[in-house]
């Protein structure tokens, strides 16, 4: 155990900025009105909600009526994808969706849900860096394609996708285009018109806002059947008493992050590059996953051969370092990262992936501490491992039976 603690899992979640907490607090105990209420307490809450919406709209280059507050990135993705699909089903129109194999589960499992109801899906492949080719997207379009959903930046390996170019294809071919920008927010420009997107998902807790609140941007005219039925909130597009405190928190966090975008990008990139260079210098058989350039400024992802991810994470945790892995043991599915698989990383190597995502409060000392700690952990685990460099056929030859995974 150690006194030092270094949080390197900002892609999983971030601490709420104290300024954001301060902005939210009055809406719990004082300005607690229901925004639908007519009296002054309600009107005050309504104003705060609408101001938050305007703040977000300004940053996205959107009209405020195109901004819907949701309960997070997952709901935004679900609403965009299922909403467009079910609208098409009602109109007996398009039945085909295009996405990629490296999307977040919020997207992948939404399209799988729809497949159970007869929708068809094409997964456009990615290259070894996880990059989608807009030409491949265009080739995948069919007459009955009703939606393209492709993420802006990947949460595991940090690959930035050519969204504006894919958006041009979508516009030319008249197919609604959704992008999951959950990981992009805070580091990449979010102007929906420059990105050529019709729908975009954000989640506040990835940019120092609270958990449980997100944004779905929906361009006017997008064919969509909204999914949460009930009261007339959010312009009848997302029922439910508005989470005013969370909306204020999201808008405050997005504004702070937008105002400091350049500095944040520089800060993160410097730490990221120091970490990548340090690892490559100090640890053998380490492979960087994802592209070297064209990568989220805060993302570092390596596979370390011969070791398994979870055991690295536990050792790092004992040293006070918080990180994540695409190892099967850290996923509920017992499969290693679908993202690394789509990038054709061999499955046994994928088990040894380690993602470290830096953030606002990290320092160079944090990175140096990791660089002093991680090599010893990998070395020790490798010494414990039956796998070795140069060994062709792992584990074969001896008496050995397969085991099967059960959930």
């Amino acid at each position: 155990m150690t006194d030092r603690s270094v949080y390197l899992d900002h892609a999983a979640t971030t601490a709420v900025d104290p300024r954001v907490v301060d902005a939210m607090l009055p809406y719990f105990t004082e300005k607690y009105g229901n925004p639908s209420s007519i009296y002054s307490l309600g009107r005050e809450a309504h104003r705060a909600l609408e101001q938050s919406r305007e703040q977000v709209a300004a940053i996205l280059g959107a009209d405020k009526r195109e901004i819907i507050f949701t309960s997070g990135g997952t709901e935004s993705d679900n609403t965009a994808i299922k909403g467009v699909a079910w609208w098409n089903r009602l109109k007996s129109k398009g039945n085909h969706i295009i996405t990629t194999p490296i999307e977040h589960h919020a997207v992948l499992h939404s399209v799988e849900y729809l497949q159970r109801f007869g929708f068809e899906v094409t997964y456009v492949p990615v290259d070894r860096d996880g990059v989608v080719d807009p030409g491949d997207v265009e080739k995948a379009i069919r007459p009955d394609t009703c939606l393209i959903s492709i993420m802006y930046a990947n949460n595991e390996v940090g690959t930035i996708e050519p969204i504006a170019e894919i958006g041009e294809v979508a516009i030319r071919r008249h197919v609604p285009f959704h992008t999951d920008a959950v990981q992009a927010a805070g580091y990449l420009p979010l102007d929906v018109n420059k990105l050529n997107v019709d729908m975009m998902s954000l989640s506040a807790h990835k940019f120092y806002g609270p958990k449980g609140v997100g944004i779905l941007y929906v361009r006017r005219g997008t064919p969509i059947l909204y999914q949460q039925s009930g009261g007339a909130q959010e312009g009848k597009r997302r029922a439910g008493t508005e989470n005013v405190a969370a909306a204020v928190g999201l808008a405050t966090a997005l504004t702070i992050s937008h105002d400091n975008l350049e500095a944040e990008v520089q800060h993160a990139s410097r730490l990221r590059d120091r970490l990548i260079a340090g690892i490559e210098e100090r640890i053998e058989h380490a492979h960087l996953n994802g592209p070297r350039t064209n990568r989220l400024p805060n993302n570092v992802n390596f596979c370390f051969e011969f070791v398994e991810g979870e055991s690295m994470l536990l050792n790092l945790d004992m040293a006070g370092i918080a990180a994540s892995s695409g190892s099967a043991c850290t996923s509920a599915s017992l499969e290693p990262s679908h993202v690394l698989k789509a990038m054709q990383v061999p499955i046994e190597i994928a088990h040894g992936s380690l993602r470290m995502s830096v953030g606002r409060e990290n320092t160079e000392e944090d990175i140096d501490y990791v660089l002093n700690t991680l090599p010893g952990i990998v070395l020790r685990l490798r010494e414990m491992s039956p796998l070795r460099a140069g060994q062709e056929s792992w584990g074969s030859g001896d008496s050995h039976t397969e085991h099967t995974h059960q959930e």
Partner: protein, 129 residues
């Protein structure tokens, strides 16, 4: 998530290593599944005189390897054959549900090592029964 015993065995695993002139070697698991255990045993008078393991895998895989080797060290081969994966998990104060089936293979690997020993030493094995 993990019990204290698991974390103890994970962070200070007992009996890590190899036995170059082992009497029996057993392997269980598959790196494609994320878990691979290799057990080396030295047998004397039908007892496990020494035992070492190498494991590629998660915290549970390493802790069960460590605990299982401790449990059979000094035991007769027949006693060791009776050790089950469940008993190893129990000795560790339990494992999270999803780890029970995937990373809890050390007893199987020990059985494989004993079978390897018996296959290579048919006389000694026969004498013991």
């Amino acid at each position: 998530m993990y019990s204290e015993e698991v974390m103890d065995h994970f962070s200070n695993p007992r009996n890590v290593g190899t036995i170059p002139d082992a009497d029996g070697v057993g392997t269980e698991g598959n790196p494609v599944c994320g878990d691979l255990m290799k057990i080396f045993i030295k047998v004397k008078d039908n007892r496990i005189e020494d035992i070492k393991f190498q494991t590629f895998g998660c915290g549970a895989a390493i802790a069960t390897s460590s605990m299982a080797t401790e449990l059979v060290k000094g035991k007769t081969l027949d006693e060791a054959m009776e050790l089950s994966n469940q008993a190893v998990a129990k000795a560790l104060g339990g494992l999270p549900g999803n780890k029970m089936h995937c990373s809890n293979l050390a007893a199987d690997a020990i059985h494989a090592a004993i079978e390897d020993y018996r296959a290579k030493h048919p006389v000694a094995s026969a004498a013991s029964s």
